[in-house]
Amino acid sequence: MPRLASGRRLQALIAKEFSQIRRDRRLVISLILPPVLQLTLFGFALSATVSNLRLGVVDESRTPESRELVATLTESRSFRLGGSYATSTELGNAISQGTLDAGVVIPYRYARDLQRGRPTTVQFLLNAMNANTATIGQAYAEGVMQSYNSTLPRRQTDAGPDGNVAPGPSRQGQVRLVPAFLYNPGLVDSWFIATGVFGLLLILNSSLIASAAMVKEREAGTIEQLLMSPASTAEIIVAKITPLLVLLSLMMLLAIAVLKVVFRVPFHGSLPFVLSGGVLCILSGISLGTVIATLSKSAQQAQLTAFFINPPLSSLSGALNPIEAMPGWLQPLTALNPIHHFAVIVRDAMLKGSGVATLWPNFLALFAFTLVLGGLSIWRFRKQLS
């Protein structure tokens, strides 16, 4: 009964791996701690929200009109008053020292021009060091100024005897843009970041843990003993991978629970779909770790190798930022990144409720990665053993 014997052998090998992992306290901790800690840390700390920009004011006009403008600017959530300055040089210094994010200069003739109905210009200074903040800040400033402008003509005719301004319909034939934010109406940043970190977590931790587990046997020199046993290499590999897969899948469930409970990410799509994507992702992570392990002689070397692989893998994944923001020559590379495909699956399935119909290419890509990386790891492992 060779079949039965081999089945029992596999069982015994898997049991061995489980008890090995159970005794390795650090491994168990690294299965529980990262999902909770990294998800919450990254999710909360990485927020690109632009609000409460510190706005410095140089009010050369010193009139009710100019004060009204300042009040309109600072009553919005986008800007808050960061201080008043006497001259624009002082304002410029404050911006360059980083005490202000933006400044507005209201000219001396502001109120007079307004009363006479003449066009007047208000200067806005924005610290554009952070291009993203500056772009959003610019749109805010223009939006606030537009709504301020739309209130102007009516108020003037109410207040003053000035007859220059036509009191007629102020918004003649104008187009009003009504944006509707789908899938995330509250514009919660953490939904995007946390789902991306989820993908990073699965791949990076799987590869880390797998390489640690593989290298360990080698460092201890017990790999020869395994080879001497009647088990075939395939059995050794399956026995090595199964417990890792089980544990990492538990970690995935834990991470999904964190997404749901801590970040309140909505779940519109099908859970089995996300889970099966996650399992594929873990498998390709494990394979990656195995390949790293077969390339290194010690745990230290394996970790150093990971330093070369992980940063490009995580930064070219679009997990933390939109892919369109990358330079054009780097964008195609993301198609070769399992994290990217998993992040797309998680986001679209969870937030948009997309199903297999739209996500099958990503799913297929993940499957291909698992096959290629898995095949590579088995081939490397065999070569190493023989």
């Binding site: 700390a45 980083g98 924005l126 554009a128 223009e142 034939g173 944006p179 230290q300 930022n321």
Partner: protein, 358 residues
């Protein structure tokens, strides 16, 4: 020092990897996007609506992609073909001709909140420009015009913002990593015992180590600065002396951090993890590298006051972009020196403890 030069692999780690990181991460972190795909559904199909759509077509921040008429516009969002859908209602042309205010709808895929904000902002700008063009001359003249000046980075290039940050990240990660590995190796291989029995004092030994890795850090700094000045197109914006002083202090600070970790944790693997946590995770997350510190929830934000990288990032950005000079950064330079001294002190105590045990 000789120990370092012999190990070419780690030296490559110190000098080559940071450059790779600089190029890749700056690409992988940038948040500001343009050329966002947008689908237009024009139910009005009038000259006025064509005009309006042309305004969108002409912009560089959004680009209009075709979408088959028989498919629902929402599908463009779920399939990721577009970031937004602009819906122009049937009565658009009539309203414009009558001079009545009319509304158009913009459906934005907000699963990425930041890009959604940008998309809505871009569309708003285009619409405002369109309105301004159409407004009667009398009304146009009464407007308060805004002249927006973008300082320090007028081209709104993300590279210029992230470049200095990643420069700091690389500097906070690799030199301490190497220093920690070297220290832990000494204690793992017990060669440190030779130091103990020799006449070299703890201070001399530590300073020697730190000086070597400060030199490594400075070399790495030079390599990365070359990349910053060429590929990123950055220039020194003002008085370079605070930057030079801060760089030397920071190199000392990170070298001491690595030595401290290596002296207190005598296992190479564990030391590496500690450096990865301290050098990478903390500096990456809590120093304002990508996202403004003000956005970190208050419960976590206080930690960033202790993160050495935070101060150096501010100094580097000041030197390369803002040019505030000494008045803007003197305190930060001082803090870096102080944190470096604290690391040195802890490393020295760790050494003494090991010495007693041995």
């Amino acid at each position: 020092m000789i120990q370092i030069v012999r190990d070419w692999r780690t030296l490559a780690l110190a000098l080559v990897l940071p450059v790779v990181l600089l190029v890749l991460l700056s690409a992988g972190l940038s948040l500001r996007v343009d050329h966002l795909p947008i689908v237009v559904e024009d139910f009005s199909a009038s000259p006025a609506s064509q005009d309006f759509v042309d305004a969108f077509r002409a912009s560089i921040s959004l680009h209009v992609v075709p979408w088959p008429v028989d498919r629902r516009p929402e599908d463009a969002l779920t399939s990721g073909a577009a970031r937004a859908v602009l819906i122009i209602p049937e009565h658009f042309g009539r309203d414009i001709a009558r001079g009545v205010e009319t509304s158009v709808q913009l459906l934005v895929d907000a699963s990425d909140a930041n890009s959604a904000r940008l998309t809505a902002g871009y569309a708003g700008q285009i619409t405002r420009a369109y309105n301004r063009q159409r407004a009667p001359a009398v009304q146009r003249s009464a407007l308060v015009q805004t002249a927006i000046r973008l300082w320090y980075n007028p081209g709104l290039s993300s590279k210029k913002f992230y470049g200095p940050g990643i420069f700091v990240l690389g500097l906070s990660m690799f030199p301490p990593l190497l220093a920690a590995l070297a220290m832990a190796r000494e204690s793992e291989q017990k060669t440190i015992l030779q130091i103990y029995v020799s006449s070299v004092s703890a201070h001399e030994f530590l300073l020697g180590k730190i000086a070597a890795f400060t030199a490594v850090a400075l070399a790495e700094c030079l390599v990365m600065l070359t990349v910053l000045f060429t590929y990123f197109g950055l220039r020194l914006a003002g008085d370079p002396t605070p930057f030079i002083v801060a760089t030397i202090l920071y190199a000392f600070c990170v070298a001491s951090f690595g030595t401290m970790v290596g002296a207190t944790i005598p296992s190479q693997v564990a030391a590496m993890q500690a450096v990865a946590l301290g050098g990478f995770l903390l500096v990456f997350l809590l120093s304002g590298l990508i996202f403004p510190i003000e956005n970190i929830p208050a419960g976590l934000r206080w930690i960033s006051n202790f993160i050495w990288g935070r101060y150096y990032i501010e100094i580097v950005r000041d030197a390369l972009l803002q040019g505030g000079g000494w008045p803007a950064v003197w305190l930060k330079v001082l803090i870096i020196g102080l944190i470096g001294a604290i690391f040195y002190g802890i490393a020295w105590r760790g050494m003494r403890r090991m010495q007693l045990e041995a």
